[in-house]
Every structure is written in C-alpha cells, then in structure tokens.
C-alpha cells in the first residue's frame, strides 16, 4: 500500500516533467525516474528529532542482499558520530587535532551514536561489539548470509548531534543531520570494507533504497536526500515528514524553522534551493550555478539520474556543514568573513565554485560510487576537474576572485597549491595523507593532471573517456585501474606517463628552451616525467615552424641552417601541459625585450613607492 502511495505520488510529481521532456532531445536526458538498480543495502528508518537534547532516536530496518559469491558470517556497521565523543579519543580527533575544515570541535557539545538493540527479523538478538575507536561495530550472525540471500535487521539507535563539526551537527535551531544512522560497510572480496572514521576520509557504501520518516516540530522545514513522500501533522506540535529515495548510497537531511525554498525546473529536473532568509540574495546565483552544473555535466558525462536535486544553504556560523555532497542533496552556503555584510560574494564566485563542485559529486560519488576512503583522488579529483572546466566556461577568466588588481581563477588557485607540493602522489588512502598534502593529492594535482591529459589527448577524446567511464560504472564501485583501462581504451594511447608518473608516482616535469642561437634552438627536459609536446619557432621573416618533441631526450637541438635567423622559440605554446613546473622558462627570445623589461620595472618602482608611503615613509 505504501509503495503504491509512493508510486501515485511519483506519477503526480513527474508526469508534467515527462511530458515536457519529450519536447526536446536536451530534456530527454533529464527524465525524472528512479534508476533501475538492484538494491543491496536498503534502510527503512523512523526517527524523532529532539531539538532540546539535539538527539535523533528511532528504529531502522535494514534489508541487505548478499550479491557476492561468498557467504557473509557477520555484519559491520559504521558509527561515524562516535568520532565526536570528545576531543581526543577517536582516530578522527587524533588525526585532525579536533580541527576540521577550519573549524574547532566544541567539547561542550559532543556527538555520539548508540545502538540500543539489534535483532534479526525473527527476533533473535545479536551481540554487538564496538571495534577500533568505536566508530565501527560488529555483530556475528547465527547463520552466514548465503550468496543471493537477504538479511533483515531491526536496529534501535540513538544519535547525539555535535555542535556543527566535520559536516554534521546543530547550530541553534539549524540541524544538518549527516552520518547519523548505523550504516553497513561494503562486503568485498570476502570481507567487510569498513574503516574507522579518519579525519581526511569520506565514505563508501552500497546502493539501496531509503524510506525515512522524521518526526520533528511542526514549524520546521526540511530538506533531504530523495523525494518528500508525505507530511503528517501529529496534533501534538509535531509533524512527521517521510522521504523516499532509490539507488542511493547514503541519506542525509537538514531542518530549520527558518528555511525558505526556491525551485527551478531544469530540463524536467526539479531543482530545489533551501536557503536562510539572510542569504536570500544568493537565490539566483545558487540556482544559476545549479542549472549550469546539471546541464553541462549532463551533456559531458551522462544524465543526472534522479528526479530531484536539493541544494542546501547553511548559516554563516555553521559553515562546517557547508560544502558537502550527499545523494540528491548538496550543501553550499556563503560565509561573509567580515561578519559585517561587507563580503557578500560580490568579489568572488566561491558560492558558485562550492555549489558546482558538490553537484559534480552527484556524478562522481553518488552515481559512480568510488571508495572515497581508499582512493579519494578519484571522486575529489575528477569532481574538481569538472568544476574547473565549468567555472571557466560559465564565469570566464578570474572567475574565483576579482577584486581590483587581485584577480584569480579557480584553476590558478589549484595550480598554486600544486606548485607547492608537486611530488605528492595522487593515489593513496585518505589517511596516508597529511592535512596539506591531502589537498594536493586529492584535489589540486588531479585537476592539473587531468587537464594536462585533456591537453594531450584533446578535449573531445577526453570527454569521450569521461562519458564512457561514467556510463560503464554507473551505480558501481570502480577503482583507479578501471579508470586507467577505460582511459587507455577510449583514447587509444598508452597513458603510463599519467598513471605511473602522476597518479601512483611522484614524477615531475619542467620543459625549457635553454638556448636560441641564430640558426639553432636547444630545448631541455628536467625531471623524469615525459609527455609529448610541441616547440614553436619563429624566424626573422615572421615565418614559423611547429616541431613535435616526444620529450624522451633530456636535451634536443633543432637546426635551422637553411632558414632565416631565429627570433624566438617556445615549448608548449598553448599551455597544454599544466604539470610543467615553470611555464616562464618555456619561451626564449634571441634578443632581450627591453621595452617589456622597462614596462615591468616601471610597475615595480610604483609598487615600491606605494609601499614606502604605506609604511609611513615619504
């Protein structure tokens, strides 16, 4: 009956969208139906939110199907909130120093999760052992779950939300409820793939269906993964809101009495922006960015497969909850660092960057579900590469910051980070990285490397690689090697330089023109990374030559005895190789450019004079 009600509701909600989607080819990509995916781990959850104690307590029924060919003797749960019991005891706190995303943990408002009862569908109680740092729990089963069999578990639990920290928690009457319920690990290769909650690590889970009913005060507005199936008034000042989602790997929700809602139809997809009144000025910006992301990522990689996308705003003081991805739900938010209303994003596009990045994860996390703990470079790197491409396309140059003479693009910011630690391998488990090299290994270097790969194989072929990879691994858990196989197959090239040199290795590259003589040009490669490139040579009569150079020799000389005198030479003139450590030595003139030299010195002199005045001097 309940399923029928959901079906009827879904038909009502989506029929108009289906009708409009038939009108054009573009909208046909965004047909809002649930993906046809066999669920492995499904959750039916009923909880109540106590806004005074900041507790979420209730019951979950887990339906787990063993899709592997090995029997499963036990179950392992993630209890993520136990990482926030205090400032010191969990692995998360020890690794992070109780700091996450620039925010400190408040030990006066800890978090935690307790399973008060766990039994099988037939009523058999299971013994639960907390393991590692208590962010994992294990229960032996009386009988192993045979391949193809389904296990039903009934779990009573109580979650205490911390003051917003590491993506989850409360701030006053705002609640961001993420990583909040006992959640199964992933059974792989004869064991549970489930790690304690590490500070750099994100998440990994099986696909499943979620039915979540939340009872909370009736003046609260909610936003969540999935579709709102029903809202029921309880006549005691509370309401019960029920959400339904299919083919998702997680479920998160948020609630606040202050939330407002703006919606937009994007080619048949319902986009919802849930915002706080003080951020009403962000409505158009957030929805424009969302539309750009859904449309372009859909065209580049493949259609967004779910019927709704919710973008959630967070309070300035709870920015630790912003900038996070969940299936069908992302959190963004715009913080004014001055607190004076002076910086409302008028000089930057950080709101757009965060929104687009998190929506990118809908493709590269929610649908192509990488193991974020074991290979964080895949989801963060590919998503950030997508973000850089889209920001440049939609918002032009200097799209990140444009404040007078200070201008910067998102790509430039990422390259700056890369140049600080270019020898960081991209591949590695989240906890193999420190705080700073995690940013380089998982974000900056992948962006720079993937754009270099695009420069080498061409934009069209690169998009073909990405769309094939997306299509092939939708609702699966691919690895780096799966990406390698797809990239090499589709590009038709051996990509050892990319995978062995940059992903697994710490190879670096610096190409330079080392000398320009009248009839000779010498080019040099520093570092062991070898990427084919081009050398453009300009002669005195204005003619040019474009030489291919495979980079295999550390030094190579081109001879032009039969041509007019050489005036300049430049390696990689189109700046395709972003991994090149110094572009500034890529080009060389036979004679010094005095005019440009004077122009720069004129600027330097002016800056020094200004600094002298600024320092109180004359």
């Amino acid at each position: 009956m309940r399923r029928l009600a959901i079906l009827v509701l879904a038909l009502i909600v989506f029929l108009p969208a289906r009708a409009s989607s038939a009108a054009t080819d573009n909208t046909a990509q965004l047909v809002p139906i649930w993906p046809d995916v066999t669920p492995i781990a499904s959750y039916d959850i009923q909880v109540a939110l106590d806004i005074d104690t900041k507790m979420v307590s209730g019951h979950e029924t887990i339906t787990y199907t063993n899709s592997t060919d090995t029997p499963i003797p036990d179950v392992v749960f993630h209890l993520y909130l136990n990482a926030f019991r205090d400032s010191t005891s969990s692995i998360f706190m020890q690794e992070s120093g109780s700091l996450s995303r620039g925010y400190s943990f408040d030990p006066d408002y800890p978090g935690g999760i307790e399973i008060t009862d766990i039994r099988l569908a037939d009523g058999t109680t299971l013994e639960l052992d907390l393991i590692e740092d208590e962010t994992l729990a294990k229960a032996e089963l009386p009988e192993p779950v045979a391949p193809g069999e389904t296990l039903n578990l009934e779990v009573e639990f109580q979650s205490t939300l911390p003051k917003v920290f590491a993506r989850t928690g409360f701030y006053k009457d705002f609640f961001m409820v993420g990583q909040w319920f006992p959640k199964l690990g992933v059974w792989q290769d004869g064991g549970w793939n489930a790690y304690p909650f590490h500070s750099n690590s994100e998440f990994f889970a099986d696909f499943g269906n979620y039915d979540v009913a939340i009872t909370l005060p009736d003046n609260y507005v909610t936003g969540a993964t999935g579709l709102l199936a029903s809202t029921k008034a309880n006549n005691d000042g509370t309401q019960t809101v029920s959400y339904h989602a299919e083919a998702v790997i997680d479920f998160a929700w948020a609630a606040s009495p202050n939330f407002k809602q703006a919606t937009r139809d994007v080619g048949g997809l319902e986009v919802v922006y849930i915002y706080l009144p003080e951020h009403a000025f962000t409505i158009d910006r957030a929805l424009d960015a969302t539309e750009a992301a859904v449309t372009n990522f859909g065209a580049w990689y493949g259609a967004y497969p779910y019927p709704r996308l919710t973008v959630l705003d967070v309070p300035d003081e709870a920015s630790g909850a912003g900038g996070m991805e969940y299936p069908m739900l992302v959190t963004a938010g715009l913080e004014d660092p001055t607190g004076l209303g002076l910086m409302k994003g008028q000089y930057d596009h950080m709101l757009e960057i965060v929104t687009i990045h998190e929506i990118g994860h809908e493709w590269w996390y929610a649908v192509v579900a990488f193991n974020e703990a074991e290979e964080p470079w895949l989801d963060e790197g590919i998503t950030d590469y997508s973000t850089v491409r889209l920001m440049e396309k939609e918002y032009g140059p200097h799209e990140m910051l444009d404040m007078g003479s200070i201008k910067m693009s998102y790509l430039e910011a990422r390259r700056m980070e890369y140049l600080m630690m270019p020898e960081t391998p991209m591949y590695g488990k989240a906890w193999d990285f420190g705080t700073s090299d995690y940013g380089v290994g998982a974000y900056s270097k992948p962006v720079i490397s993937l754009l270099t790969l695009e420069g080498v194989i061409g934009e069209e072929r690169m998009l073909k690689v990405m769309s094939t990879f997306f299509e092939r691994y939708r609702f699966k858990h691919p690895t780096t090697e799966d990406f390698r196989a797809t990239a090499e197959e589709v590009s038709g090239q051996n990509l050892d330089w990319f995978f062995d040199g940059l992903v697994y290795g710490k190879e670096i590259l610096n190409y330079s023109v080392s000398s320009v003589e009248e009839h000779r040009v010498t080019v040099t490669r520093q570092g062991s990374l070898i990427i084919p490139t081009e050398v453009q040579v300009t002669f005195a009569d204005g003619s040019e030559a474009l030489e291919a150079w495979d980079g295999s020799e550390a030094q190579k000389t081109f001879d032009y005895s039969d041509r007019p005198a050489v005036v300049r030479a430049e390696i990689d003139p189109d700046h395709k190789l972003l991994v090149d450590l110094q572009w500034s030595d890529n080009g060389l003139l036979r004679r010094m450019d005095v005019w440009s030299w004077l122009a720069i010195n004129c600027q330097i002199l002016y800056q020094i004079q200004n600094m002298l005045l600024g320092e109180g001097g004359l």
């Binding site: 607190g339 330079s512 500034s584």
Partner: protein, 294 residues
C-alpha cells in the same frame, strides 16, 4: 579679556591646503626622496630581470599582473629545490626571485623609517614657521636637528603599533569566534576609536617637538596625548577631511589606471608618479593643517 578663537577642523584643513601649496619645495623634496628610495630598491629586481627579459613570459608580464607568473615566483623556492636534483639544475634567477621579494619586503620598512625620520623635522619646521619664505638651509637644519629624536620615536611608535595591532587582531579573532561575527561591528568601531587617536598622537608628537623646539620626544608625546582629549572633535574632523581627500585621489586613480595599456610604460610612469605626488600631498596637507590645532 577675550578668549582666543579656536581653529575649526575645516579651517585647519583649508590652511593645510594653502600652506602645503605655498611651499611646493617641500612636496618636491618629499617626492624626490620617495622616488630615489624607490629607484634604489628597484635596481635589484631590475638587474634580476635582465635574464628573464629574454623569456617570452616577460611580454605577458608587461601586459599586467600575470597570475601564472606570480604563482611561479611564489613557488620558486620549492621548484628550485626540486630542480636542483635534476641534471641541469635550476636557473639562477629562480632562486633569486623569492630572495628579491623577501629583500624588498624587509628593506621597505627600514628605508621608510629612515626617510620619514629625516625629512619630517624640516617639513614641520617649514609649516610651523609659515608664512616665512622657504629656506633650504633652514629646511635641512630642521631635518638634521630632529633626525635622531624622530628615529627614536618612530621606532618606539612602530613597535607599539605592532604590539597594539597584534593584541587587537588576537582580540578580534577571539571575540568573533566566541560571540559570533556580529561582534565585528563593535570591534570595527573600537578599532576606529583606537587607530585614529593613535595616528593623531604620532603626528602631534612630531609636531610638538618642532613647535616647542625640543628633542625630548617623550615630553612631546605627553603633550600629544593630552591634546587628543582636549580637542577630539577638531582632530577627528581634520583627519576625516584628510582621509576623504586621500580617498578621492585613490578613486580617481583607480578609475584612470585600468584604461592605460600596461605595456605603454612612459604614460604609465607619468600617471603613477602623479598619483604618488598626490598621495604625498594629501599627507602633507594633514601635517600642515595640524599646526593650527594645538
């Protein structure tokens, strides 16, 4: 007996304008010191840039701030150490790039301190003795006479400013994290209430030393401290008008500069130097006007 009429901030500002224009030699001298000090420091990057001026990247840089180049200069220390392990090694200018930036950042405050301490005595003496005709001999006597005393007081004031600012910054961060960002409105108001009087104390310490013909800067500091309580509104008005003048100059320049082609350096040079002179002038107007509020 009739009470002496107190000069208003507007009158002081107007007198400051008149006085500063009456002695263009002062503006010229201050500008030349600024230009020569700037040139002295600019020689080092100019020499460092001779080798990179053979690079095509110099043409990108000449067309305005090139963020790619800025990044490469900022990352040059890391790149240098990585390339050192390669067969051909890094180019020498790569190591020099960050060293030159570091040197300039270190040298600027020192030279600013020396030039300001030297010139201020002569400049204030000319304004205090207005409307007497300008005398270069008297001007340089003033510069030399107060040089040592002003070196000392400027050093002490600079240290005190650094301490004050550090304490304020820590306080702002702690207050904002404890109470929320709304408290920045209060701290911003408090900052204005602290910084403007602090600037006034600094200005008047120098002025009282010259007016009273003393090199006892501590006595002058005491008088300046008392003055900010005695004539707070007049001082606030004078500083406000000077700030407005500076803001107008800045605004005009910000509008004009982007329309100039950066690589057309002779025009850029003229415009930037006019701006430096205007900026200097706005400061001298404040100093010249301050003579009337004592």
């Amino acid at each position: 007996m009739e009470a002496p009429v107190k000069t208003t901030s507007w009158q002081a500002f107007r007198n400051g304008l008149t006085r500063s224009i009456r002695y263009p030699q002062v503006i010229l001298c201050a500008y030349l010191f600024n230009l020569l000090t700037g040139l002295l420091l600019a020689v080092i990057p100019a020499l460092t840039l001779v080798d990179p001026a053979h690079r095509t990247a110099i043409q990108d840089a000449a067309n305005g701030i090139d963020m790619w180049l800025v990044e490469e200069i900022l990352g040059s220390t890391t790149t240098y150490s990585i390339l050192q392990e390669t067969a051909s090694g890094p180019p020498p200018w790569l190591q020099q790039a960050s060293l030159v930036v570091f040197f300039i950042l270190l040298a600027v405050p020192v030279l600013a301190w020396l030039t300001a301490s030297f010139l201020r005595g002569g400049i204030l003496l000319a304004y205090v003795e207005a409307p007497q005709p300008f005398s270069w001999q008297r001007f340089f006597w003033g510069c030399w006479h107060w040089f040592g005393a002003f070196l000392l007081i400027n050093l002490l004031l600079e240290i005190a400013t650094l301490l004050l600012m550090s304490i304020l910054l820590v306080g702002i961060v702690m207050a904002a994290s404890a109470a929320g960002a709304w408290i920045n409105w209060i701290t911003l108001s408090l900052l204005v209430l602290i910084i403007v009087p602090w600037l006034a104390i600094s200005d008047y310490t120098h002025l009282f030393a010259v007016v009273d013909q003393t090199r006892n800067v501590f006595k002058a500091f005491g008088k300046a401290f008392i003055l900010i309580f005695r004539r707070p509104l007049a001082l606030a008005g004078l500083f406000g008008l000077s700030l407005l003048m500076l803001l107008l100059i800045q605004a005009a320049f910000r509008i004009l500069l982007p329309s100039l082609p950066p690589d057309w350096w002779p025009l850029v040079f003229v415009v930037t130097q006019v701006f430096i002179i205007a900026r200097l002038w706005s400061r001298l107007v404040r100093w010249a006007g301050a003579v009337d509020i004592t």
